[in-house]
């Protein structure tokens, strides 16, 4: 049972994630977009979208820190458990609230603006549902367990297991005693990973960083230069 939940499912999700992206990239460049609807509605978007995106960046950075950086490293850097807990709970709660507020605004926008509603695809609906579950579970875990509750040291279990999955040495037993709210959050995150390549979330990989240094005006040839000179 543990193996199915904490080894099989993660690898199935990761496989879909990787293969799905390769397939989508090769087959569907035309569909690879943010599918912006700002032109249809911008009042709610103007607030909701930055909240959601910036909150997500903070949350992703927090997850990277919490899951990928071993406890030993932060301790070696002189950050004791108490300090880490303070920072992670504080920043985590703030980021979680931002993402949740952003998502709520964007959802409200989807539902209340008939123009936006009409452009919503099946993939969008699934994505919104899964995102909502992931985010609410995550927020509940952070606020419920770590802020209001006694606090749970996920870095001793979940983080180790997660790094194990990424390095192909998964240890499902680490997840056995984890509080259910964290288990559910992790499960829903795998689901998100599995649907990711089939939704508009693919635009994340197109974050146009290269724009910062490319020349302003782009010239392209229609045909290769004729070599008869």
């Amino acid at each position: 049972m543990n193996v199915a939940l904490w080894v099989v499912i993660p690898y199935v999700a990761l496989t879909i994630f990787v293969v799905g992206h390769v397939w989508r990239w090769r087959v569907d460049q035309f569909g690879w977009t943010t599918r912006t609807t700002q032109v249809l509605e911008s009042r709610l978007l103007r607030l909701g979208s930055p909240l959601f995106h910036l909150g997500s960046f903070a949350a992703i950075a927090g997850h990277a820190l919490g899951l990928l950086v071993p406890k030993g490293w932060t301790e070696a850097a002189g950050i004791d458990d108490h300090l880490y807990h303070l920072v992670s709970v504080g920043a985590g709660t703030a980021a979680g609230l931002m993402v949740t507020a952003g998502l709520a605004l964007l959802l409200a926008r989807r539902l209340t603006s008939p123009r936006v509603r009409r452009t919503t695809t099946r993939a969008d609906k699934v994505l919104y549902a899964v995102l909502t579950v992931v985010i609410l579970l995550g927020l509940t875990a952070t606020v419920g367990e770590n802020l209001l509750g006694g606090g749970y040291d996920y870095r001793a279990t979940i983080a180790v297991w997660f790094r194990g999955v990424l390095t192909f040495r998964p240890d499902p037993d680490l997840m056995a005693g984890v509080p259910p709210i964290f288990q559910l959050h992790a499960m829903s995150a795998w689901l998100l990973a599995a649907i990711w390549p089939f939704t508009r979330l693919v635009h994340v990989w197109s974050a146009p960083i290269a724009y910062l240094w490319r020349p302003y005006i782009v010239y392209r040839r229609r045909a290769p230069r004729a070599t008869t000179t």
Partner: protein, 516 residues
């Protein structure tokens, strides 16, 4: 010197009757699809008026185009690169659908399916976006022929620069039509603003295009274009714009808007220019110097040095020859009657306009004078502040001298041809004042008044050497998916088609929206 060729256009505004044939044929060809219901690659505005989208010329609001900062550097008005990336989540300068208009259709089925009854069934307007009932309160051409102008037109940004008196009287004074397409600029702000590098300017002919496979929907081009000639397709989430009908141009044919223009007022031809000089020209300090700066970027195709440099740059002989016969070059550079639209945006636009003489003639008639007497017209051109100031803010960054010069030459042409037809006389003073020879006058007359098809459109076909690359595209099209620009199955001259890499669009991701 890096010589490039640009396919450019000139429109003779005096001849535009505002029939919208160009807009309609363009729409039927390119934007007759869900997702771009509100999009007009070609639209015709009545001036003075706020235009489409509303007040798009107000760059204080929309922050399109370029500006020169205090240190003399050229910058996008909407800010630098970092600022643009931070604006990805919500573009602060993007027009709303309501700034364009909400497209409407009618429930025509009611006429057929209504049950028999005492009353004639009526149809109601439905939003083409949501399918719901709506009241039509604005459109892409709401102010046609100054309709509602007393109410709306004072908001025209071009009037802001003019005196109080003008604003009150303009609707009695003048009116003209302004057909607008993408300017295929030499220094395109849309290209510079695209974070993905999906927009590009073609080296061969200067046409500015959106690569539909590389556009990621960041919609920065839409706000950066000061002419608001890039649009979001809300079904596909990608940017689309006027293509200068490139499949037709490649086949040596004029664009659809030009081909179908009832007034035969559009001219298409090549301009050779020095790509290395563009940046320097776009950042000259004074807005009123921009016209001359842009003219200096153009190269004279009759100059043997230019021809040699063009050859060295790989431009084919027939293209250089076509550049020599270019009506655009002649109207802009030899006769100097064509002027760029809003040169102060610093994008170096390549669709130029011959200012209309009719507002001046109307004013002369309005004052009870004879508009056929050249003297009256000359006086009006120098004295009348009203239409001249307006035309100057449209075509010359406010410099009335420039517009007056072009109008002088146009009315000198009228006077010259009239005298020749009546008694064969030639007024040398008149020619000297216009700075043109009798021969040039008559050539210009021929080009403007006779306007033969093969003189209006000098479009060299794309090159045979490139034929392999072109034929690789025939058969199917990656953009044929639902909502894609090719979904109408329109394949002009069989030139659009599957990309060489054979990519396809997927139905799953292109949405269901739009009216059923």
């Amino acid at each position: 010197m890096r010589v490039l060729a640009q396919v450019a256009m000139v429109m003779n505004l005096d001849k535009c009757i505002g029939c919208h044939t160009c807009s309609v044929t363009c729409k039927q060809t390119w934007t007759n699809r869900d997702g771009v219901e509100y999009v007009w690659f070609n639209n015709v505005e009545t001036k003075p008026g706020v235009g489409y989208p509303r007040r798009h010329e107000d760059q204080e609001r929309w922050r399109g185009g370029w500006q020169v900062d205090r240190r003399g550097r050229l910058k996008l008005r909407s800010g630098g690169r970092v600022k643009r990336l931070l604006g990805l989540f919500a573009n602060p300068d993007l027009p709303d659908l309501d700034d364009y208009y909400e497209p409407a259709t009618y429930d025509y089925d009611t006429l057929v399916t209504a049950p028999a009854g005492p009353h004639v069934p009526v149809i109601r307007p439905k939003s083409a976006i949501t399918g719901e009932d709506m009241a039509i309160t604005w459109g892409p051409n709401w102010e046609d022929d100054l309709g509602g102008a007393p109410e709306h037109a004072p908001a025209d940004p071009n009037l802001a620069a003019m005196a109080e008196k003008v604003r009150m009287e303009f609707d009695k004074t003048f009116m003209f039509h302004l057909p607008r397409i993408c300017e295929h600029c030499l220094n395109p702000a849309c290209v510079a603003a695209c974070p993905s590098g999906a927009l590009y300017k073609r080296e061969e002919d200067g046409i500015v295009l959106v690569d539909q496979d590389r556009c990621r929907g960041w919609r920065m081009c839409v706000s950066a274009c000061p002419y608001k000639k890039v649009y979001v397709n809300h079904r596909t989430g990608k940017a689309e714009k006027c293509t200068f009908c490139f499949p037709r141009i490649e086949a040596g044919q004029p664009t659809v808007c030009a081909e179908t223009c009832v007034g035969r007022l559009r001219y298409i031809g090549l301009v050779l220019y020095d790509a290395d000089a563009v940046l320097g020209a776009a950042r000259v300090a004074g807005p009123r110097d921009l016209l001359e700066a842009q003219r200096r970027v153009f190269l004279d195709p009759d100059d043997p040095k230019v021809a040699a440099a063009a050859r060295a740059a790989g431009i084919a002989e027939d293209w250089i020859e076509a550049a020599r016969r270019s009506p655009v070059y002649r109207l802009a550079m030899r006769y100097r009657v064509a002027l760029p639209l809003h040169p102060e945006y610093r994008t170096m636009p390549m669709v130029w306009y011959i200012p209309p003489l009719s507002p001046v003639l109307d004013a002369v008639t309005g004052m009870g004078a004879d508009a056929d007497d050249p003297d009256n017209v000359f006086h009006a051109i120098t004295d009348l502040r009203i239409p001249l100031g307006y035309l100057a803010s449209l075509l010359a960054a406010g410099d009335t001298e420039v517009v007056a010069g072009a109008l002088m030459r146009l009315s000198a042409m009228r006077a010259h041809m009239r005298a020749r037809a009546i008694d064969g006389s030639v007024d040398e003073d008149l020619l000297a004042a216009a700075g043109m020879t009798a021969e040039e006058m008559e050539e210009m007359y021929r080009l403007l008044a006779i306007a033969r098809y093969d003189e209006r459109y000098v479009v060299p076909a794309a090159h045979r050497e490139d034929a392999a690359a072109l034929s690789a595209q025939v058969d199917g099209c990656s953009l044929d998916g639902e909502g894609g620009p090719g979904m109408t199955g329109f394949h002009p001259a069989g030139l659009t088609g599957r990309r060489p890499d054979g990519r396809l669009g997927l139905r799953l991701f292109t949405g269901r929206g739009g009216a059923a």
